[in-house]
């Protein structure tokens, strides 16, 4: 039997694919903002917080990094309702993605904080800045500049990993692909097209982040 490829269905499917891609972009945008914020707090807490907090953050990072994202997602989406917290799939996906990304970026941000010479903090303190101002105005911008490439990679990885949230019926790109292939019976072609959309998204996202980083953090960001 010879199989012939058929992309005739594509014309009627662009709307669904675009809607799915938009949801994927929304998910990763929220995750990037919330995850980065959480990881800055986490990395700072791990360095300067009380001992108990340091330990808790350390364990959080280890647990998330050594278990699959899919299991974390199921744990949050199916597990939380049994203690009375019922989450909408989109919220559950955003929560799982943020918690997952933060575990990786806490380490990345932490490495950046360590890379800023202590003289910077001492100089800022000597100028009369308060510790919080020193962190936000002096240490953090320099740390972010150092770790920006690693942060960018992690965001792209998270975007690719977001494909699995289709499993809790979030209507993102993969979910739309599942629906399309069920309707067209053209599974290979459907997933091929959607894979290429993901490829374009990841290339575009990387370009956007590198460009945005240059603007925000100044020259020298790659």
């Amino acid at each position: 039997m010879t199989y012939s490829l058929d992309f005739g269905w594509l014309a009627g499917a662009t709307g669904a694919i675009a809607r799915g891609a938009a949801t994927t972009i929304l998910l990763i945008a929220v995750t990037t903002l919330a995850g980065t914020l959480l990881s800055i707090l986490g990395a700072a807490g791990r360095r300067n917080g009380p001992l108990l907090l340091k330990r808790a953050i350390g364990w959080y990072v280890e647990v998330i990094r050594n278990t699959p994202f899919l299991v974390q997602l199921f744990f949050i989406f199916f597990g939380l309702p049994s203690i009375g917290v019922r989450l909408d799939p989109v919220l559950a996906a955003m929560l799982a993605m943020t918690l997952n990304m933060a575990a990786y970026t806490i380490e990345i941000v932490g490495a950046g904080l360590d890379a800023v010479p202590p003289g910077q903090t001492e100089a800022a303190l000597a100028l009369g800045l308060r510790p919080r101002q020193v962190f936000i105005k002096i240490v953090l911008p320099q740390a972010l500049k150092v770790i920006y490439p690693a942060l960018t990679s992690q965001i792209v990885i998270m975007m690719l990993e977001s494909a699995v949230v289709s499993q809790i019926a979030v209507r993102e790109l993969t979910y739309e692909a599942d629906m399309l292939q069920a309707r067209t019976f053209r599974a290979f072609e459907t997933y091929f097209v959607v894979t290429m959309v993901y490829l374009a998204l990841s290339i575009g996202l990387r370009r956007l982040l590198v460009g945005g980083g240059r603007r925000l953090l100044g020259a020298g960001v790659s």
Binding site: Y3, E62, V63, R65, N66, T67, P68, F69, L70, V71, Q72, F74, F75, F78, G79, S82, I83, V156, L160, E161, S162, A163, V164, S166, Q167, T174, A177, Q181, A187, F188, Y191, F192, V194, T195, Y198, L199, S202, I203
Partner: protein
């Protein structure tokens, strides 16, 4: 209705975990073999061979693993193979792993000083001998930490094969959860089993990293 005790759940999950381990090993070994071939192309003298390998790596690193698995699952029948979750899972993860491993090892090859190649050439070794005797042993040795780190990622990635119907740990846990309605317990145990598999490897990778940094 069947009653599941805690031990029933744990026993079934551990039995399913065998498949997770087996799949991880098969994909890691397959990925190492294919990854070597990709590496040869990636560091070849021919520009087009290098470009081809770069494109291969970019393709696998720039698309979701879930999509790669779907394409494998639905693409295999087109080349005359039967749709079978195990085949699709092993092949999909093998190609996925090969791209990442080739890129990790290429980093090792690039990190070696140019003099290593020159010294090999001056001893009269030809290209393949240089690679086998001088370059690759050193490249593998300095990339041991990221290679182990990737193995952890690969083990976690096997969870996705549950979606294309391969009966590993996560798929079994879904079935158990549907029967017991105890998601906290079931997925908590699954997370624990994955943690027990991955955490020692993570620690090992970390110790390798520290040893390399100390040198």
């Amino acid at each position: 209705m069947i009653e599941f005790t805690f031990w029933d759940i744990l026993r079934n999950l551990l039995l399913a975990a065998r498949w997770t381990v087996l799949l991880s090993l098969a994909a890691f070994m397959g990925g190492a073999v294919v990854g070597m071939i990709v590496l040869f192309f990636r560091i070849a003298k021919n520009k087009w061979a290098r470009r081809l390998a770069s494109g291969y790596i970019a393709l696998f690193q720039g698309t979701p693993l879930l999509m790669q698995l779907f394409l494998m699952f639905f693409g295999l029948p087109m080349v005359g193979l039967r749709i079978e979750p195990w085949t699709a899972a092993v092949l999909g993860l093998t190609f996925f792993a090969s791209a990442y491993l080739a890129e990790i090892w290429r980093g090792g090859v690039d990190a070696l000083p140019r003099g290593q190649w020159d010294a090999g050439a001056s001893l009269g070794l030809h290209y393949l001998q240089e690679l086998r005797l001088i370059i690759l042993p050193q490249a593998f040795s300095i990339t041991r930490a990221p290679t182990v780190g990737f193995l952890v990622q690969l083990i976690k990635s096997t969870a996705l094969t549950s979606i294309i119907g391969f009966e590993e740990l996560v798929r079994t846990s879904n079935a158990i959860n549907n029967a017991t309605f105890e998601p906290f317990k079931v997925y908590g145990l699954v997370a624990l089993i994955f943690f027990v598999m991955c955490f020692p490897l993570t620690q090992y990778a970390r110790s390798l990293e520290q040893r390399a940094a100390a040198r």
